[in-house]
């Protein structure tokens, strides 16, 4: 940039421009670096939660127990019967949408809200539920258990 032809006014403008550009560039760099650093900082929940389809290893699921697994936005109850079979049903009670649980001593899937009971085929056998629980498919790939919607 050739400066010795410039008038003092022009020179003043040039300096002002230099400052504005420099300052702007600095602000711009900050507006890039700050989000970048924030992004690179691991969030409090360090890892994505294992949920939905994958339900764990077969060897980790005990017989005669039931667990709730999150399938997308809905809860699914995965039951391993006393004889070792794996069953999965929607865990939303068909009465008023409470979340059901496996009751070992009763040998049924039980809803704590109004004492609804479902047998291990998902059929409503006692209490207010009007319909059985939707069944889900349990797929065994080696040791991995995964749950899928019943097609």
């Amino acid at each position: 940039m050739n400066e010795h032809n410039a008038s003092p006014r022009e020179q003043g403008k040039r300096d002002f421009l230099k400052y504005v550009l420099g300052g702007g560039l600095f602000a711009w760099v900050v507006s890039i670096v700050y989000p970048l650093l924030a992004y690179l900082t691991p969030p409090k929940q360090a890892e994505v939660e294992v949920n939905s389809v994958k339900a764990g290893k077969l060897s980790e699921i005990e017989r005669d127990t039931g667990t709730i697994v999150r399938f997308g936005n809905k809860p699914v109850i995965l039951v391993r019967t006393a004889s070792g079979e794996m069953r999965a049903f929607s865990a939303t009670c068909t009465h008023l949408d409470c979340t059901v649980q496996y009751q070992k001593d009763m040998g049924v899937i039980w809803c704590a809200c109004h004492n609804g009971k479902y047998d291990l085929n998902g059929r409503n056998v006692s209490g207010p539920p009007p319909r059985p629980l939707d069944e889900f498919k349990v797929i065994l790939q080696g040791e991995e258990v995964s749950i899928s919607k019943n097609a």
Partner: protein, 359 residues
């Protein structure tokens, strides 16, 4: 501050002799004429590619490429990682802008016949990069493992499988099996972050070196005009600063798009569910997809789909080889055939894309 830079330059220069390079750069001029605005699109494409690499690497830090976790990991990035939403939406938008910019760049080069002697290799590397860009788009689209992507990949690889003899092996290679499964996801992930970037970078290097060595091409009528009338501007600092200005505006555009039109995630893919309504490919594949719909099922002895794919293949090949069969441009003559066929291609693509959207 400036003194520090000068000191640094001198230190490197003693070891590598940068003076020749600097002198070369200082002498570079960019032609200025009525079509010189198109020169910027190569740079914009480059800028968008850099954006993709940067945002892609950032996404890689949190993305998990397995069937069980891909969707959830993107949900995680969108909701739990600070500015994750921004990085992801920028990556998705920039992908589309990158293809658009590359197309504008390609067509502007085509219409100004810049591919002619001595720039045939530049055109070839550019065309190969363009095909790779489409590959980037297709492989990246599957990575969120959502419903639309799953079915779009299914349809897309089905089309590839239609080709006679080689179609089926290609399809199995792409899918990592007979059907689209988690294996496909793994494969596409590998293509997207390792294979394609590697090849692309090599081609990009060649392309840029050629441009630097040969300088900018001028349209034929400008080239043939008097030397006195030809205006130029120095590459450094004029054209470079203008380029940077353009890049800054594109960056702002990306930010606006990311905030006001965040990229959707949809529903997680379910291998056993039926296809939902409204599956379609991304806009840059739409015109081909729509064309296939219009071709009747059987044309003489050839299957309609196969005919369509072959036709596009041949068209693509002709387009790629244009520097070699356009003799007139190599001689410095106007070639209206090229211009008109180019206009036809542009119109065809635009019209069929619109038709595809409206159906």
């Amino acid at each position: 501050m400036t003194k520090l830079w000068i000191k640094l330059y001198r230190w490197v220069n003693e070891r590598v002799h940068l003076e020749d390079l600097v002198e070369f750069l200082g002498k570079k001029y960019v032609p200025v004429h009525s079509h010189s605005v198109w020169y910027y699109f190569g740079g914009v494409s480059l800028f968008l590619f850099i954006i993709q690499v940067v945002t892609g690497i950032l996404l890689l830090l949190y993305y998990k490429g397995s069937e069980q976790l891909a969707f959830e990991s993107i949900q995680f990035i969108m909701s739990k990682v600070e500015f994750g939403w921004l990085i992801r939406s920028i990556h998705s938008w920039a992908a589309n802008l990158f293809v658009l910019s590359a197309m504008i760049h390609m067509f502007s080069v085509y219409f100004t016949k810049a591919y002619r002697n001595p720039r045939e290799m530049t055109w070839l590397t550019g065309m190969l990069m363009f095909f790779l860009a489409l590959g980037f788009g297709f492989s990246g689209y599957l990575l969120p493992w959502n419903e639309l992507a799953f079915f779009a990949t299914k349809v897309g690889t089905d089309i590839a499988g239609v080709l006679p003899i080689i179609g089926e092996p290609i399809m199995i290679f792409l899918r990592g099996g007979e059907e689209v499964t988690g294996a496909t996801l793994s494969r596409f992930f590998g293509f997207h972050v390792a294979v394609l970037p590697g090849i692309f970078t090599v081609l990009l290097g060649i392309h840029l070196i050629l441009v630097q060595r040969q300088g900018m091409s001028e349209p034929i009528d400008v080239e043939n005009s008097q030397t006195a009338e030809r205006k130029t501007m120095p590459f450094f600092p004029n054209f470079l600063l203008r380029d940077l200005l353009f890049w800054l505006l594109v960056l702002n555009l990306l930010a606006i798009l990311a905030v006001f039109f965040p990229w959707e995630l949809g529903k997680k893919a379910d291998l056993f569910a039926p296809a939902p309504a409204g599956i379609r490919p991304e806009w840059y594949f739409m015109f081909m997809f729509q064309t296939l719909k219009y071709i009747p099922a059987q044309l003489w002895i050839v299957d309609g789909e196969v005919f369509g794919i072959m036709a596009f293949g041949i068209a693509g090949l002709l387009w790629t080889l244009v520097p070699f069969w356009d003799r007139k441009s190599s001689r410095g003559e106007k070639n209206l055939l090229i211009t008109y066929s180019g206009m036809f291609a542009v119109m065809y693509i635009i019209i069929l894309t619109i038709l595809g959207w409206r159906s």
